[in-house]
Symmetry: C2
Subunit: 365 residues, 2 copies
Amino acid sequence: MQRRRFLTQAAAATGAGLAAVGLPAVAQNAPTVRWRMSTGWPKSLDALYGSADELCRRVGELTGGKFEIRAFPGGEIVPYAQNMEAVSNGTVECNHVLATAHIGTNTAIAFDTGLSFGMNARQHNAWIQFGGGMEKLREMYGQYGITNFVTGNVGVQMGGWYRKEIKSLKDLDGLKIRVGGIGGMVLQKLGAVPQQIPPSDIYPSLEKGTIDAAEWIGPYDDERLGLNKVAPFYYSPGWWEGSASITTMVNTEAWEKLPAEFKAAFEAAANEQALRMLAAYDAKNPPALRSLIAGGAQLKYFPKDVMEAAYKASQELWGELSEENPDFAKIYPEWKKFQEAEASWFRVAENALDNFTYSEVLKRS
Amino acid sequence: MQRRRFLTQAAAATGAGLAAVGLPAVAQNAPTVRWRMSTGWPKSLDALYGSADELCRRVGELTGGKFEIRAFPGGEIVPYAQNMEAVSNGTVECNHVLATAHIGTNTAIAFDTGLSFGMNARQHNAWIQFGGGMEKLREMYGQYGITNFVTGNVGVQMGGWYRKEIKSLKDLDGLKIRVGGIGGMVLQKLGAVPQQIPPSDIYPSLEKGTIDAAEWIGPYDDERLGLNKVAPFYYSPGWWEGSASITTMVNTEAWEKLPAEFKAAFEAAANEQALRMLAAYDAKNPPALRSLIAGGAQLKYFPKDVMEAAYKASQELWGELSEENPDFAKIYPEWKKFQEAEASWFRVAENALDNFTYSEVLKRS
């Protein structure tokens, strides 16, 4: 695992793109600030791109139009894999990404997006907002000149689209699968051959048979990418992240030049999108899943031996990453303790009521 | 069920408390707007009161201090049961409440807080934000001169504190239990005697034995109220709301006088608290539950016959309320359809992964 550090570039690019700003302390009299936001998404992924756009619009509304952020579709400013470096070196002031695409830079970034069999969206937000998680992540990102924000979450993902059925663990052997981040590292331990492919290239790769399987997010986005048209088996659950949190990385020098009111506007708009994006997915996924199944997608669940082997491989991986990466080692013990506390409490009330209610409601419907 | 309409009072009190405002369209040049927020909470319930306070602070930060909202502890301006009327008639510009305390005014208010065996916090937020729920609620609240906002959620609650064990359905017979809103109506069908008691009076009532049982919220708040000291059995889950959403009702005339930037600030701050309050509860409940159990609380689950009878009684109740209240009848069919769609999707991915992960994580810990 290559651990590139962007420190040099970040230092060299001090204030790039910000030279004209020089803000006084009071927003009222501040000149307009203009930021660019590079995203990881084509506009067609409107739940993700739309949330980025809404964040920018809200910041504008909250500042009387004085703090303008403009979102750009994936690839327009920099390629998918360079969204982190672009913020670090000041090419753009901020981005809107699945940070896990950058674990090649630092495996501890996985704690930002989510670990396999990790915390669900609510638990992750609890850790970020009130469990010390944000402070830990800020410390880690700090070495790249980045200040991170949670700007969304997609919830638990689906396990992706497969050209052949996965009947047991051995069917993963040699399977070429498009999968992001930590999931790829775990699947590699199980014999699969993970591929990192940006969202817009997934469909053609699966269609041509360059890969055997591909996961992107869930019903709503997968349908928009058309993945159901090129592989029949749709597996659940996407265990590679307990939930996938969306990150906006901000260039720290740009951040620190903002007046307090603009900072408050950005923070409030970020937290608002942490709620709104998840709500959008939760509203859009149910009809999309129905439509996919009506169109012929075959819904399957990963066999028990796959789930168990993946869980075991994940635990091994946390041990290895803790040994090789001090940043990972610094976050993992507290993260793990938090997850255990969440699991014991969620099982008592939330999960007990969810299980009962789903069973009754689906009996009724 | 008495259905009081506040229309007359609201009309008579046009602009009360707002006479001095008269805002121009642009916030920049607007004079300071000052609002009062009556809450349902003593300051000691710091997760609820703290969130109300944070909302007010954020609105201030976002408007350069020009839109000041001040939160008041429960009972300081009006009694618990009058928080809705106080907004409707303009005594205060807004409140911060469990709206279900006001189902005596309109049973359709239950859709705002949550129904028994209803949607969990994420599903409720999906319905509110993207499922048409907010529009339906706004129409209902409109007749009281109120514009409603979701400003928090406490998640699934606990089932409360009991002086005696509940071994089967018949142990509910004649049980005097403090329970808010819809839960009381369902428990009454099961033979219990529900009591509406404001949070600050729950402890003395349970201590004196005026009541046999009491539910408030969950581990963190219940420990702060000291309920563990006056009843030994702590039941789960609090099935009377799939999740309990917190509402801020705003006097519509006051709302409409706000400049666009102040409205945006209020909306963003409300959505931020919808995320932050839930995250706070999710972070604070696990250690509180541990501490309660360490202190002698006996964790129990409602017997199967209680859960099943409560589910059945709830379905009957929705039929009855739909017949007697056109507002309930207008919202229920769409709400039900949305819940069914959510249940089918959540069971496929979220719930499947939650169940597996909790089981493995708790095995590990």
